[in-house]
């Protein structure tokens, strides 16, 4: 089994962990942690796929773009979680069902 296959399988494993977390967790901050793990899997898969297909630098530049987007998702998500905590007193996603408007 080649290094590329091993790293791609690792990316699939990380994707499974992140997906499981998204389906299982109810805490907003932990959901953002699960999203971050999904993004790590995407970054790894992009670089490995770029190397496997011969477009090494294209895969790397796309991976950097994904890292920046992923960081902004974390920042905005955490800001939303803090505001939800201040307004509703909890981080439970079920509390968002009380939102109106």
């Amino acid at each position: 089994m080649s290094q590329t296959t091993i790293l791609l399988l690792g990316a699939v494993g990380l994707l499974g962990v992140g997906l499981y977390g998204l389906l299982r967790l109810r805490n907003l901050i932990q959901i953002i942690v699960a999203l971050q793990i999904l993004a790590k899997a995407a970054v790894l898969a992009l670089v490995v796929a770029g190397k496997a297909s011969g477009h090494v630098n294209l895969g790397q530049s796309l991976a950097v773009t994904v890292i920046v987007a992923d960081t902004v998702i974390a920042v905005v998500g955490l800001a939303l979680a803090v505001q939800v905590r201040r307004r509703l007193g909890t981080l439970d996603v079920r509390a968002l069902a009380t939102l109106r408007g």
Binding site: L9, R26, K40, L58, V72, V76
Partner: protein, 166 residues
Amino acid sequence: MALAVGLMITAVFCGLQAMKARRLLTAALWLAAVSASVAIALYQLGAPDVAVVELSVGAGLVTILFVFAITIAGDEAMDAPPIIPKWLRWLLVLGVVLALATAVLQPATSHQPLAEASFTAVFWQERGLDILIQIGLIFAGVLGVLNLLTEHDTPPPTPAPQDKPA
């Protein structure tokens, strides 16, 4: 080869621990460990630029942001059961993982490395749109941080209006 296997096992183990952690701060630290493992794997793969960005931003900046947000929002433990039933969760996750793993293990045609420009040329010249999008995203991130830092005296949530009988 052995290093790649070890790094991937470490990354998946740390990810599982982050999902199982009862305290949010512990989950953030396990996430940083995932990021560090992925960064080492990227370096081994021959992508040092991406590895440095992943290590500094993914394991550094994001962890600090998580710790900061947890300090503000509080470390709230939740014992309530998940919304989605356990059998459905496992069915979905195993289905996706098995499908992707099958696709990965298919024999692939080997590609020769193409003669392409350097990483700097590809990133700054050929991916100009990506750079513009990243600038916009960074501005969105700055606004998010400002929102995180802003203290508002919000009124307590008002109770839901009761339906009056006709």
